[in-house]
């Protein structure tokens, strides 16, 4: 009678999808893919209804545009565009000096150049760190949640140990051991951040695993990998996306802090390094070299925080207005 059972399970599954879809009138011939597209549309709608989220999205858009079009906004420094150009004939110029819109640093670095190319550095940092930790964390969290037993026990104790050390201090220690360079900051942050995703993913997998549609897929005789990829993963990633959005801002903040402390190469076009460099001039009234790059870090982190919060509210309507 196995085919009867399969058929009933499938019917139940369809029924469930029907309940979940936002608009029941289009039900005929619906696929899971189409349901997802429509849900995504509804999500975007809810996101755009929130004014602070829209502000965040606009800031992110401008930052991305600045990062992408950096060579067209200011001429790239040769040979390495990520190094600050040094014009020793124009040191300590105030903002508004012709050719130096935001002034220059003690070493004749153009602050405007640093602000623009710093957005590229920050974008690279956040994409590398969030991308790699999301993948590593998802794999490890999924393994722990799916396999259970001693694998789960071992991985989660490892996560506990990693979470015992405050984030910034841990990253600082790793970066210090690896030696001062921007690449090492990326490596250090990745080694620290992945645990968050592993923990979220494990909890999600454990929860999603118990759903009827996973049972249904097992009864049908789907392979384990297929069940994971098609049924468990897509239904478990939501909190991961919220965390990733928040982390896009968060890691730039921590990365800039590490750079500020002195763990980047000197002279790199990075906002934290520029704030640190500008610090020397504030006693003599040269406020601009720290102020503008720092403001960029603030705006970057703020934008992703706003969108992350908005995303969480849009995905979970219960938290609205809290």
């Amino acid at each position: 009678m196995w085919f009867m059972q399969t058929w009933i399970e499938e019917l139940l599954l369809e029924n469930k999808m029907n309940e979940r879809a936002f608009d029941n009138s289009h039900y005929n011939g619906d696929t899971a893919f189409r349901v997802r597209i429509r849900r995504f549309g509804a999500l975007v709608g809810r996101l755009c209804a929130n004014p602070t989220t829209v502000i965040g999205l606009i800031i992110i858009g401008l930052m991305m545009a600045m990062a992408i079009f950096a060579p067209w906004i200011t001429e790239a420094n040769v040979p390495d565009p990520y190094q600050m150009p040094r014009d020793w004939g124009a040191v300590r110029k105030p903002p508004g000096t012709p050719g130096f819109l935001l002034g220059t640093t003690n070493e004749g670095g153009d602050v405007f150049y640093g602000v623009v190319w710093g957005s590229r550095t920050s974008l690279q940092l956040s994409l590398y760190v969030v991308g790699s930790t999301m993948i590593i964390g998802t794999i490890i969290g999924s393994l722990a949640g799916l396999l259970g037993g001693w694998v789960d026990e071992f991985l989660m104790r490892l996560v506990d140990v990693f979470l015992s050390i405050p984030e910034l201090i841990f990253a600082l220690a790793i970066a210090a051991v690896l030696g001062p360079s921007f690449t090492n900051i990326i490596i250090a942050l990745s080694m620290v951040i992945w645990v968050k995703y592993a923990r979220i993913m494990r909890a999600q997998v454990l929860q999603v695993k118990q759903n009827e549609y996973v049972e249904a897929a097992k009864v049908i005789g789907d392979t384990k990998l297929n069940i994971y990829l098609k049924d468990i993963l897509p239904n478990a990633v939501t909190p991961v996306t919220v965390q990733a959005t928040l982390d896009m801002g968060n890691v730039v903040l921590i990365g800039a802090t590490l750079s500020f402390i002195g763990l980047s190469e000197a002279g790199i076009a990075e906002w934290g390094v520029l704030v640190s460099e500008g610090q020397a001039g504030i006693a003599s009234g040269r406020w601009w070299a720290s102020t503008f790059p720092g403001m960029m870090i603030f705006l970057w982190a703020l934008a992703f925080n706003l969108v992350g919060d908005g995303l969480r509210d849009a995905l979970d309507p219960r938290t609205e207005g809290r």
Binding site: T52, R157, L158, D160, V161, F162, S164, I165, P166, E167, L168, I169, F170, L172, A173, I174, A175, A176, V177, L178, G179, P180, G249, L253, A256, T257, F260, I261, G262, L263, G272, V275, S276, G278, Q279, I282, A283, S284, G285, W287, S290, T291, G294, M295, I297, F298, A301, L302, N305, L306, D309, G321, R322
Partner: protein
């Protein structure tokens, strides 16, 4: 699960977590290669190098070295601090007092201000004070502290010239004894109003810089907890009894909203601990954070690793206390499985 069992279980796990952290820390010191580098010079013969290796046990297997190190740490030997040219264990308490004074001042201000702001906003949901608090909360989470500190310095130190830098005025420092290392407390013990005022004056800007973000975390949690409580039935009951709105808010809603707010205290503590690093650099505050930043830049591993180990253990203990207090206050919490 009984509360007592929960506390016991957490206490039993704690040593294992600390051992785990110490292994991570020890591994980190060895990632950069053998620590023998600090003792070597160009004139040494291979025999002399070998002798140094043997003297410090660096020729033994790594796990033996770990045990040696752990034994030293347990007996209070944290190694040599290159940048202070003294044993880490000697310098550490002095720096710790400076950092603790800063963190405690910021934490206390943040706690009161956060609870006040959160209550104020939560009671006026979706009105102007609520929106302002939300701006404070979101900006506090995104604000780079090192930049905020520099902005304050630009305004109050460089331009207005009213704020000091450092921890104390030199003549005031010399005028009283410092038995505790906490300057505000020392001034009170010495009965010197001038020294007390000087300590507060020096503490003000760093505490604002550090406390802003912490205030944001607490205010945000307090607000949402209060909003939640105000929707409960017992609030309606209290109002129906004819209690004044002020009493309903203070005696009923706020008291219950404080319970979930306790959970963010552990988070706030970690935030303050991490924040001291950059704040101390900017304000020339002679504490642990600045010491550690200097040791990072100059590759002084003994200092760095002691700091990481110490802050992690402190962080673990504070979180344990917070969890236990919370479980004790909120009986709805399910403890473990």
């Amino acid at each position: 699960m009984q509360l007592r069992d929960y506390i016991l279980r957490r206490l039993m796990v704690l040593p294992f977590l600390i051992i785990g952290v110490s292994i991570v820390v020890f591994t980190l010191t060895r990632v950069g290669g053998s620590p023998i580098g600090i003792y070597l010079s160009h004139e040494m013969t291979p025999d002399e190098v070998l002798e140094i290796e043997q003297r410090f046990g660096l020729d033994k297997p790594v796990w033996v070295q770990y045990l040696q190190w752990a034994k030293g740490v347990l007996s209070g030997d944290f190694g040599w601090s290159g940048i202070s040219a003294a044993p880490v264990a000697d310098v550490f308490p002095l720096k710790l007092a400076a950092t603790m004074e800063l963190a405690a001042a910021s934490g206390l201000v943040a706690l009161f201000l956060g609870i006040f702001l959160g209550t104020f906003a939560g009671a006026r949901r979706n009105r102007a004070p609520d929106h302002i608090t939300r701006i404070v909360a979101v900006s506090g989470a995104s604000l780079p502290q090192f930049w905020f500190g520099i902005l304050l310095l630009i305004v109050f130190w460089a331009n207005l010239g009213i704020a000091p830098i450092g921890r104390s005025d030199a003549t005031v420092f010399a005028s009283i004894n410092h038995p505790t290392g906490l300057y505000t407390l020392d001034a009170i013990l010495a009965g010197s109003l001038r020294a007390f005022w000087d300590a507060i004056w020096h503490l003000m800007l760093p505490a604002i810089t550090l406390g802003y973000g912490a205030t944001a975390i607490i205010a945000r949690m307090m607000r949402s907890a209060l909003v939640e409580e105000l929707q409960q039935d017992y609030i309606d009951a209290a109002r129906a009894k004819g209690l004044a709105e002020k009493l309903v808010l203070k005696k009923h809603a706020r008291r219950n909203a404080l319970v979930p707010t306790i959970t963010v205290i552990g988070l706030t503590f970690g935030f303050l601990l991490q924040g001291t690093i950059t704040v101390e650099i900017i304000y020339r505050w002679p504490g642990l954070g600045r010491w550690m930043a200097a040791s990072v830049v100059r590759g002084d591993q003994g200092t760095l690793m002691t700091y990481v180990l110490f802050t992690s253990v402190l962080f673990l203990i504070v979180n344990l206390i917070v969890d236990v207090v919370y479980a004790n206050l909120d009986r709805r919490v399910t403890l473990g499985k």
